[in-house]
Structure formats: C-alpha cells, structure tokens
C-alpha cells in the first residue's frame, strides 16, 4: 500500500514538472519549419493518387519552383491530362489546356476548384508557403505522433483575407517538419487535414515524402495521397520556364 502511494506521488511530481517545463515560442518553431521547407530552386516529380467514392486515379507531374513566387507544373499522365500546364507567379495563376490551345487565368471562385479532382484546391497551391509571413503561432502542448515527439502549434492568420484562418500543426521536434495539419475556417469549421506518413532527408533538410490530403467538406472524396518521387534542390532552371509563353512550349 505504502509502495503504491510512493508511486502515485512520484507520478504526480513528474507530471507537474513536465507541465511546468516552458514550451518553446510558437513563432520560433514556425520560422524553423519554414526554413526547413523552403529552398531557392526546386525541381520535383510527384505522383498524386486521388481516391473518390467510386474511382482511383493516378496523376504524375513535374514541377519547377523558383523562390516563393514562381512555380510551373506540367502534367505527365494520365493521357487525358498529359500536356496540361500550370504557371503560378505571385498571386496569379494560369492553366494551359493543349486540346483547346487556350491559356486561362484561374481567378475568383475558380481558385476554390479542385486541382485534377484531388483534395487540393488552386487556392492551396497559390498560398504563400512561408507560413510565418501570414500567421502568428503559439505552442499549445507536446504530443507524440507516429512515434515522433511533436509540438502542437496553433496558427492564427494575421489578416482576415485568407483561405484558412486557423491552423493546427504537429511539428516534429527534431526534424522541424509538420507531420499533421488541420486547417480551419474563421468560424472554427475544420476544412482540411493533411498527414505526412513518410519523410526523407535531402541536403540536410527534411521533406515530406508521402502526404495524405483530405478535404473534410468533400463527401465524395476519400483523400488524395501525394508522393514526391524525386526532388532536386537548388537546381538550375532557365528563366523562360517561368513565363506564360512556356505554357505553350512542349
């Protein structure tokens, strides 16, 4: 009985000490997450597995990224999507359809439309990848996710004109990569969830290898698995790649 009391007391002291340990500053963590994920030039090939209630589709694409403002994507498969290209520059985005030979700017409500039927919207693709530019962060607590110790951050948007007003991030304490994310509307409705199932290291940075995106409001979707097949950091990308003319170039 006495032994039992000692055990409980030790447990209480341990938990109190754990709780009392100061949590690191949320903004500091967020900046480190941003530093880990952002690089100057990147070339990436990816595979997207889109699962709906009645079908499964695989889409492969090659993406060229320069800094934070420019990205160019070319879809490689399936045959129907092959040759479709997207170009993002700052806050504007264009899509090129080879069958019509038209370049259309994605704007207004079209930004909310799904990218190739996935759980990602064009708005998601348009957002600034440097979260600390748009959000303030506080550290809520610690947690363990997929056997990795994490900090849970709560992000609140600095401005109201933003797709997700609040976000909740589970950040790997060692690798500074978000392993899980929940995105909320201003009213508190959960809109999207992402889960990183595997990561890889390249040039000292940790990158997600396999991510599951889930548009919570889309009842027809069962999630989109995004897999990075290859990634080249600080690649040499010619200037013409980030022009509208490149959309028509084969």
């Amino acid at each position: 009985m006495k032994k039992h009391h000692i055990f409980i007391a030790t447990g209480i002291i341990f938990l109190t000490a754990l709780q009392a340990a100061p949590l690191p500053d949320g903004m500091d963590i967020l900046k480190r997450v941003d530093e880990n994920i952002t690089a100057e030039n990147r070339i990436m090939t990816s595979r997207m597995i889109v699962r709906s209630r009645r079908s499964k589709r695989e889409i492969t694409a090659k993406t060229w990224i320069r800094g934070m403002d420019q990205a160019f994507t070319e879809y490689l498969s399936p045959a129907r999507e092959q040759g479709t290209k997207m170009f993002k520059e700052k806050d504007r985005m264009w899509i090129y359809s080879p069958s019509t030979d038209r370049i259309i700017q994605i704007a207004g409500h079209m930004l909310r439309q799904s990218v190739m039927g996935s759980d990602l919207s064009y708005e998601d693709m348009m957002e600034d990848p440097v979260l600390s530019n748009q959000y303030t962060a506080i550290t809520l607590s610690v947690d363990t996710l997929r056997e990795r110790p994490c900090w849970i951050l709560e992000l609140t948007a600095k401005t109201e004109d933003i797709a997700y007003y609040k976000r909740k991030l589970w950040v790997d304490q060692e690798r500074m990569i978000a392993l899980r994310e929940e995105r909320f509307a201003k009213g508190g409705t959960l809109l999207k969830e992402t889960d990183v199932f595997s990561v890889f290291q390249i040039e000292g940075r940790w990158y997600p290898k396999e991510i599951l995106y889930k548009d919570v409001l889309n009842q027809n979707s069962e999630g989109t698995r995004f897999i990075i097949e290859s990634l080249e950091l600080n690649a040499d990308i010619p200037d013409w790649r980030f022009t509208k003319a490149a959309l028509r170039r084969s």
Binding site: V50, S52, R53, R54, S55, R57, R80, E81, I95, S97, S99, T100, R102, I103, I104, Q105, M110, Q113, S114, V115, M116, G117, S118, N220, S221
Partner: protein, 424 residues
Amino acid sequence: MIRFLIKGLLRDRSRSLFPLITVTIGVALVTLGDSWVNGALVDIVDNNARLETGHVKVVTRAYKEQMSSAPNDLALLDTRTLIDDLEKEFTDMEWTPRIRFGGLLDVAGENDVTVRQVRGAGLAVDLSEGSKEIERLDLNKILVQGHLPQAPDEILLSPGLMENLQVDVGDEVTLISSSMYGSIVIHNFTVSGKIHFGIVALDRNMMIAPLEGIRYALNMEDAAGEVLGYFKDPDQYDKNLTASIKERFNRMYYNPEDEFSPYMLTLRDQNFLNDILLLYENVMGIFIFIFVLFMFIVLWNAGLMNGIRRYGEMGLRLAIGESANHIYITSIAESVLIGLCGSFIGILIGLGFAWYLQKYGVDITSMMDSNSLYMSNVIRARISDSTFYIGFIPGVLATALGAIVSGRGIYKRKTAQLFKELEV
C-alpha cells in the same frame, strides 16, 4: 310543374333576373379560373417534364442526395445497358440520357486573353439521328438564329448568354467546367445557334450542347447524370401510373447497400413539384368554395328581398290551401332552375374568355424576373373536360342554398292571420 315554374320566372323577371346575373357572373369566373389554373398546371408539368424531370427519372442514390448541384462525379455509368434494359422492361416509355452541367463560358480576345467570362448552366442532350430530344425540347421552334448543333463541339446559347458574352453565331467560346473526376475541364465550342425558351430562368444563362460533345469534354464516356423516361403518349402521364412504375423499377434495380445503384424518381418527387401541384390542384377547390360562399350570401339576400316582394303571393297560396312544404320546395326548384340557366350562360361566357386566353395567353414576363420555376412567360388557359361542367357546382349549389335558407320564412306565416294580412 317545371314548365309552370319556367313560365313564372320568364313572366316575372324581377323574380329571376338578379339571381340569374349573379349566378352567371360567378359561374363565368369559376369556369375561367378552372381553365386558367389548368393551363398553369399543365404548363408547369409540361415544362418541368420536358426540361428537367421527365415523367420519371433514373439517377444513382448518391446523385439523388445532391441532385440540386448536379454532381456528375456520382453519375450513372454504363448507361447504354441500363437504357436497353429499361426499354425492354417499360415498353410504353422512351428513355434518354442527359447531363446537367455548369461552368464558365470564356471568350478570348487578342493574344488569347480572356475578355469576357459568364457563368452558365448547361444541358447535354442526345441530338443524334433518331433521338426525340429535338422534338421534345421543341428545339426547332425555340431556335431563333443559326442552326442546331451538327457536330459534337457545337453549342446553343440563350439570348442572355449571347448578350453577356457579346458573341454571335459562328463564334468560339471556351467552356471551363469540371470533369466527372473533378479535374478542371477546358473545352472549345462553336456557337451554332441562339435559343429562346420563353422562360426567364432559362433565357438568362442556359446552354444546350450535344451529349456526345459534353461526354467527351467532361470525361463521361457512356455515363450520364440522369436517364429520363417519357410516356410515348404524353397524355398517358398520370401520377398513380408513374408511382407504380417507380415502385416496380426500384424493386428490381435499387440496392440500398450500393449508393451507386440506379434509383427512380417520379416527376412529383423533384423540384418540390408535389407541393406546387397539390397547391394548384387545391386552388380550384378553394376557388369554388369562395364563389359558393359569396354567391350564397348574395342569393340568400336576394331570396329574402324576393320573399318580401312576394309576401302577398305566398300568403295567398297558403290561404287557398297550398301547403308550406310545397311552396318551399317550388321556391327551391325555381332557384335550381335559375342556377341551371345562370350556370349554362356563365359557362358559355367563361368558355369564351377561356378560349381567348387559351389562344392568346397573358404575358407575365415582367413578373418573372426573379422566378426560378420552369414556367412560360406567356401563361395560357387550357380548356379541359372539367371546364364544361365545373361551373354547375357553385351555380346550382349557391342558388339552392340561398333558397333553402331564405325560404324558411314561409313556415313562420300564420294561416289564421293570412286574410287579415291580405286585407281580404
């Protein structure tokens, strides 16, 4: 007896003229109202059936749950086989696949830059040879410019769309929509013609495209959002018959465990049509009730006035031995005769107006700006079997009721005082 009463009514016009006019006016209005409501009802049913609901419609259960947004990702697959089965099973019906779609129509200017973009609602219909969709949608009649699509990538636009896009027949427009798999779709169409439905809701932003072209554009090979069923003889449409067809189909094909199994809906199951039609159907009952009530009050008063005017006559008839019951019954019979005559004349007058409104209709375009119902801009009356007899109900009922209530005074006359009253 009847001849005697008729003679009395004809010779003493003050006895019959006012009730006759009252009944005639009331019955004429009821007759006209019946044909008008009937016309509106037929218009709603016909337009909805032709354009959207069919007499019955087959969709997947998952599609049905979100039908207002036309979710083509939940569309029926393998529709050719389904339609073959339906044609074998329900031989008195015709089946046609349709796709409802929405999207932006984009017009490019110089250097491929978008100059105008307008949101539109589309209907993809089978325009292939042998299809009855052209006739069903009256496309030849509503085509006001250009020609019907002759190729999969030709499209018909409503006047509202053509005006907002500032395009003409022969111009190219780009449809930006979603494929069956949710990805963005960009497809070019050539405007082959302008269609004017005469329905505000459609003339604003409607487009009609060949099923083949939309199937290709939206990646919906052999798929369709909806398969619509029509009776080969449209007059065969009956709510009870469609309900039994629905029950039979769903018993055969619907699997509650599979959200993509086909499910049949009747016309009344869609677009709140059951509520709207019930309301319209009951309107005639309410209309008749109001007129019976109104005419009853007027004729009751006329009967009382008549009683005073014919006070002496009634007294004399009682004095010479006619029973009060007989006098009461003859006064009711007189009223019924007036009711029959008034109803007959009222029906003739009502039919005249109904015929005029059936032929020329009333243009209600100005009232339809915010209307989203499939209702024609020109509403016409429709003379049906009921138009010929419905007026008799309030006409005879109101006059009889008026006489029954006002004639009770006969029983209050005291025979002993009759000679004194008559100053004999």
